[in-house]
């Protein structure tokens, strides 16, 4: 059996406005080159599931970074930090883009990186993944999982643009995974999202699952749906390999 190992550690990167923020980075041991993956955490915060997800991508050969979008709300239990973020209106889209670009560029500077970077996000992170892929041109593919509020009715100073209106600027191939029992996004909103992608001739693939709602990958929550999650992960690996491998 071949030797297998990985390194997983917290790092500091320089985020939006020059603010230092924390990130969790994991990669296989060895010289590489490894494809890169940046993970945008969900609304419940920079939590254990995202730590495990970071290591899971590393297990599959990706140099992976999960950065803490809630850094500026303070340190502590992820649920407490997420609550503080909610109490203060969440993070702005501009700040999210700045922090995420910093994570992407950190990967691109590493000697063991293969020059390709994907972006993965679930829940609010799914929305942010799509938004980033429309605003920036620095990633090679985007993986949006049940991105709530891509079709955004209520605009706020921190989230002033409905992401779907930026579809024409999508800069890379997009994978979308959705549960047909989800209420944010609803199947009708996913239809609108897909129609806009088609209208602009974008490279995308959507997979929609019956019997699943929001967050069906979360094995520690009632929303977990094992069959749909296992199939969804296969879609993730196939898509990421197709767009990020240089072998």
């Amino acid at each position: 059996m071949a030797y297998e190992g990985m390194i997983a550690e917290t790092i500091r990167i320089i985020g939006h406005n020059g603010d230092p923020i924390s990130a969790y980075a994991a990669r296989p041991l060895g010289a590489g080159p490894f494809p890169g993956m940046v993970l945008i955490h969900h609304m419940p915060g920079w939590d254990e599931w995202y730590r495990e997800c970071t290591r899971r991508f590393a297990h599959h050969g990706y140099a992976t970074v999960s950065h803490n979008l809630y850094e500026r709300f303070g340190q502590g239990d992820p649920a407490d930090v997420a609550a503080k973020a909610r109490a203060e209106g969440g993070v702005s889209d501009d700040q999210m883009v700045g922090d995420t670009e910093a994570a992407v560029q950190w990967l691109r500077r590493q000697v063991w990186h293969n020059g390709k970077v994907g972006l993965f996000g679930t829940c609010s992170g799914g929305r942010q993944t799509f938004l980033f892929a429309c605003r920036q041109k620095s990633i090679d593919c985007a993986l949006e999982l049940w991105g709530g509020r891509v079709v955004q009715d209520e605009l706020t100073p921190k989230q002033p643009v409905s992401p779907i209106t930026l579809t024409k600027d999508l800069s890379c191939p997009l994978l979308g995974l959705f549960g047909n029992e989800d209420r944010a996004p609803t199947p009708e909103q996913v239809d609108q999202h897909e129609a806009e992608l088609k209208k602009h001739g974008k490279n995308y693939e959507f997979h929609r699952y019956d019997g699943a709602g929001h967050g069906f990958f979360y094995y520690d929550r009632p929303a977990y749906r094992i069959e749909q999650a296992l199939d969804g992960w296969q879609k993730v690996w196939a898509f990421a390999n197709k767009h990020l491998s240089t072998k």
Partner: protein
């Protein structure tokens, strides 16, 4: 579901948070969204916080929708009785 159902209000009082310390409250936050602990897809979450303090300064509950309705009704009843008491207290003469 990834909702935007959040109601943030000023709050005045004290709360007992992480570590058992009491702290002054500045805001209450009521939302209907993903709970962290309750085994529900969505819950009414109520946080009493002090924005000037660290994130651990939080009194939190995650309730089913039905439990939240029961709590809301109980609050309404208690407040109505309290207002009657207060009106007697402040009556001149």
């Amino acid at each position: 579901m990834c909702t935007s159902i959040v109601e943030i209000s000023d709050c005045d009082g004290m709360g007992k948070g992480d570590g058992g310390e009491w702290f002054k409250l500045t805001h209450s936050v009521v939302s209907y969204d993903h709970p962290h602990h309750a085994l529900l897809e969505e819950a009414i979450t109520i946080d009493f916080v002090n924005r000037a303090l660290e994130p651990g300064a939080r009194v939190a509950v995650e309730l089913t929708l039905d439990a939240a309705k029961v709590l809301s009704a109980a609050l309404q009843r208690a407040i109505a009785q309290a207002e009657i008491e207060e009106s007697h207290r402040h009556r001149p003469g």
